[in-house]
């Protein structure tokens, strides 16, 4: 697997094309479909599969949404931050996202002026930067367990005063100036380029956040760098970020030891560098817990794996079925019916919460959008892809599955979709469905339907 990782770390990078600000008639351009279609086109066949997966995972932590920003042109520049930093350093990612105008709009850091009398600095970005992007609510040990006080209560990672003060630290930034416009202290929203500091709108009084002091009269820029330094020093960041990356990439229920091993790599990549995401990704994929089950005699734990979220389900399914697609494809619309509208997370809490649990109590973030409604929709969608194809721009190649006999057919399906570990139960069921069909194509369709709708495929493990 290491050679594959090396190849992936250096594979040429995908790009999402810039989108127009205005349409041909000079009106605001709001059509996300071509961008979404292109996302799937690249997700299906571009070489940098791991980079795209990590970037997508990071974009589900650092959320902005078309619900609030209905302008497609804002999204390629935002998405590139995750592509470019997927194997980079977490501090660089924090800085880049903080100064991105889409995030500036989404969590109202843009034009967050130093407060006049009777006002306070807007706490939105300050709070979610701490709660969702870097530390979480509770101080954590390296293995992800909460740190407890003498009474056994979790120790908060920050206080309300930290939020209020960090909001003041982050005052004084405005949107980039649009071409041909005159720069203002509070520019109107424009989503290409970085936000810039306007010192007259920055609260330059002394501030304290998480015990770190921001001396009076620092610039907005200096205050931001100080804030990033203070955040990077918080050891809680390592298990907070690593646990979520493991959940997105490997398993919903990582063991404390697994989290601990990856966290230690986050804290120090072996060369004294903290926040090295390439080292973290390598560690979490090569960990013994992640690799359990690769060989006979290394069983996986009962909570292992994670439900394929709709975007990843569609991408994997279509790739496995040899589909091609383009900017007119409707895979994104299909994912939306399953509860995941690409670039349109319902809130800053993303499509699903890392804390979400299944009714029986297992950790299962993706299950938040797996409902009694979207579960049959998944099966129906798979049937539609297999029997009619998704749309004329996304043809699948089922002829590749037609086999001389059902046994070979099932071998092929297991190899492609279930990393060659199909259970005997699934094999028997799929064989019954295939044997009742009459042609090589309908046999393949029946067996694929049973395999791809099964929990064994839906839960990657």
């Amino acid at each position: 697997m290491r050679p594959w990782l090396e190849w992936q770390f250096s594979a040429s990078e995908s790009d999402l094309p810039d989108q127009p600000v205005l349409d041909a008639a000079g009106q605001t351009y709001r059509n996300f479909a071509p961008l979404q279609g292109t996302f799937f086109e690249e997700a299906l066949w571009n070489q940098d599969q791991l980079r795209q997966r990590v970037a997508f995972a990071l974009s589900e932590i650092w959320v902005v949404s078309g619900v609030e920003i209905p302008y497609p042109y804002a999204f390629p520049p935002y998405w590139r931050l995750f592509r470019d930093n997927a194997f980079g350093n977490y501090r660089d990612l924090m800085r880049a996202v903080t100064l991105n105008p889409a995030m500036g709009r989404y969590l109202s850091m843009a034009n967050n002026n130093k407060p006049a009398k009777g006002q306070s600095a807007n706490e939105n970005y300050a709070r979610e930067l701490l709660q969702l992007f870097t530390l979480g609510l509770t101080k954590l040990n390296a293995d992800g367990s909460p740190q407890l006080d003498a009474k056994g209560n979790p120790i908060p990672a920050y206080t309300q005063a930290d939020v209020t003060n960090l909001a003041r630290v982050l005052t004084g930034w405005t949107y980039p100036t649009a071409p041909d416009a005159t720069p203002l202290a509070n520019n109107p929203a424009y989503y290409i380029g970085e936000m810039f500091a306007v010192e007259s709108r920055h609260d330059a009084t002394e501030k304290t956040v998480l015990g770190g002091v921001f001396p009076a009269n620092q610039t907005a820029q200096r205050d931001l760098e100080t804030a990033l330094d203070i955040l990077m020093k918080q050891d809680t960041m390592a298990p907070f970020v690593c646990r979520q990356l493991i959940q997105h990439l490997v398993t919903s229920n990582p063991s404390p030891d697994y989290i601990g091993r990856v966290s230690r790599v986050f804290l120090d990549n072996g060369r004294g560098v903290r926040g090295d995401l390439r080292a973290v990704v390598e560690a979490l994929l090569m960990d013994p817990d992640a690799r359990a089950g690769d060989q006979e005699g290394t069983p996986i734990s009962s909570g292992f794996g994670h439900l394929r979220e709709p975007v990843l389900l569609l991408a994997n399914l279509l790739r496995g079925l040899g589909a091609s697609t383009n900017e007119n494809g409707t895979a994104a619309a299909a994912a939306a019916t399953l509860g995941q509208n690409l670039f349109f997370a319902p809130s800053v809490f993303s499509y699903f919460s890392p804390q979400y649990r299944t009714p029986a109590g297992a950790g299962g973030p993706e299950f938040q959008i797996y409902t009694t409604q979207t579960a049959p929709f998944r099966a129906n969608l798979i049937g539609q892809i297999l029997y009619r194809t998704l749309d004329k721009n996304t043809p699948v190649r089922l002829d590749a599955f037609t086999a001389p006999d059902v046994s070979t057919l099932l071998d092929n399906i297991g190899m492609l979709f279930l990393h060659d570990s199909m259970s005997q139960e699934l094999r028997d069921a799929a064989a019954k469905a295939a044997n009742a069909a009459t042609t090589p194509l309908t046999r393949a369709q029946a067996a694929l339907y049973v395999a791809l709708t099964s929990a064994e495929y839906q839960v990657i493990h």
Binding site: S120, G339, P359, T372, A379, A430, A436, A455, H461
Partner: protein, 447 residues
């Protein structure tokens, strides 16, 4: 002879008559009543700034309101005409909620003042000196949503209060079918998760049915193979979870489509909004309650977008018309169906917001706030509980920005709804574990 339904109605408002009966007899009567009751939650995601939903217009309170709300203060055409409550005190609603003002005037809507999650009653002094337990992770969206939905303000409950109420009804076989008591029209919600019952989530206007099968032998064999795997125990908990939900869909789909297929179209016009569609679907399922074999149902709907850190005035001008029109249409539909007395709709939200504005014309995360309750059984035209003292840094403030400490708890709010739903007082503690910390167990807003 009085029907049981009438008896219960009289009973709850006539304490003397009930007091003559042994306490333990009450549950049996309340439970076995043949009547229908439904609770409908409308969750306002993002944290509705209810400081601007309904405003006390009495001089001193309104003066304090305008003095401290800055650019967010509503006045003149930003407000409905004041409506006097049952005690003569004037209240105005946000101008984009005229339907709510009308329902308040016609006594079909009650306002709950300064409600929020609490472990126990709490003063500013106790809060500031950390002398009493407070809810976990205050001011966080996700945590406060969970606390509203579970009515457990400390720690993390695996079940919601409506789920526990559903468990209670299911254990007593109040319904004659296995169809879920809790129906979400807004995705999975912890509120409806019970220890023994599970909710069903349904997209408005959608079907749970499997498609793409016909009567051929090949199709039947494929369907049988698909279904056989739903019972396959692989030993992996997430596979079990995926199968359990899908099996649940398959089971509920036929009951739902059969029942809805027989129902006549509802004449009431619903607004063409997300919340309108959700509430219309709820009305259609209520209409089909007999065919579904349901005597008790709980519905969950939602409207998002209330996280108004900036530009709050314009955001409310978009959101409140959706809320008001959908709530009013739904109430009209319950009247059309003859069940207005049997259906109570209530709002919840993550939290209310800071009374003091932000520099961008919005407000930040806070705590206690106002909620609305609509229905024929509501003793409306009244405010229950107490509005906060609007002084920043005053007796109801956690700090200096007007993050109000609730004076009524989610437990009291939910217990009052659940009591009307048919859970006897002696059993409410099982649904609301913190209720014992509050002296007033029934807020009295439902008859």
């Amino acid at each position: 002879m009085l029907s049981r339904r009438n008896f219960i109605r009289i009973g709850t408002s006539s304490v003397g008559a009930l007091a003559l009966r042994p306490f333990w007899e009450l549950p049996a009567m309340a439970q076995t009543g043949p009547y229908y009751r439904a609770l409908v939650c409308v969750f306002l995601f993002g944290g509705n700034d209810s400081n601007n939903t309904v405003i006390p217009m009495e001089d001193a309170a309104y003066k304090a309101y305008t003095a401290n709300r800055g650019a967010l203060a509503l006045s003149g055409s930003g407000l409905t005409a004041p409506v006097a409550d049952a005690l003569g005190a004037p209240y105005a609603f946000h101008a984009k909620l005229p339907e709510m003002a009308s329902l308040f005037a016609s006594k079909e809507l009650a306002v709950l003042a300064n409600v929020g999650p609490l472990v126990q009653p709490l003063t500013r002094a106790q809060y500031q000196a950390a002398l009493a337990p407070v809810p976990s992770n205050l001011f966080s969206h996700a945590d406060q949503q969970i606390e509203w939905q579970t009515s457990v303000a400390q720690g993390r409950s695996a079940t919601g209060w409506a789920g526990r109420a559903a468990d209670y009804m299911a254990a007593r076989n109040i319904n004659s079918s296995q169809f879920p008591i809790f129906v979400s029209l807004a995705g999975n919600s912890l509120m409806g998760a019970g220890a023994t019952t599970q909710p069903v989530a349904l997209g408005p206007g959608q079907s749970l049915a499997l498609t793409g099968f016909d009567a051929t032998a090949a199709s039947n064999a494929r369907l049988a193979a698909f279904q056989s795997l739903l019972n396959f125990d692989s030993g992996l908990s997430l596979m079990q979870a995926a199968n359990a939900t899908l099996a649940h869909s398959v089971q509920d789909a036929s009951a739902l489509s059969a029942a809805l297929g027989k129902a006549a179209a509802i004449k009431t016009q619903f607004p063409a909004t997300s919340l309108g569609a959700q509430l219309k679907q709820a009305a259609q399922i209520i209409q089909a309650q007999q065919a579904l074999g349901m005597r008790r149902q709980i519905f969950f709907c939602s409207l998002g977008g209330f996280d108004t850190h900036t530009s709050e005035i314009s955001a409310h001008n978009t959101l409140y018309p959706q809320l008001g029109a959908a709530l009013a249409a739904f109430y009209n539909a319950t009247q059309e169906l003859g069940v207005a007395q049997d259906v109570t709709t209530f709002t919840e939200s993550d939290f209310s917001r800071t009374f003091q504005p932000t520099s961008g014309g919005g407000s930040d995360h806070a705590w206690g706030g106002q909620q609305l309750v609509v229905g024929g059984a509501v003793r409306g035209g009244r405010v229950y509980g107490k509005f906060p003292d609007f002084t920043l840094g005053g007796p109801d403030d956690t700090d200096v920005r007007g993050r109000w400490i609730p004076t009524t708890s989610v437990d009291q709010y939910g217990a009052t709804l659940s009591s009307w739903f048919g859970i006897p007082d002696g059993d409410l503690g099982a649904v609301f574990p913190n209720l014992a910390n509050f002296s007033l167990r029934n807020l009295g807003f439902l008859a």
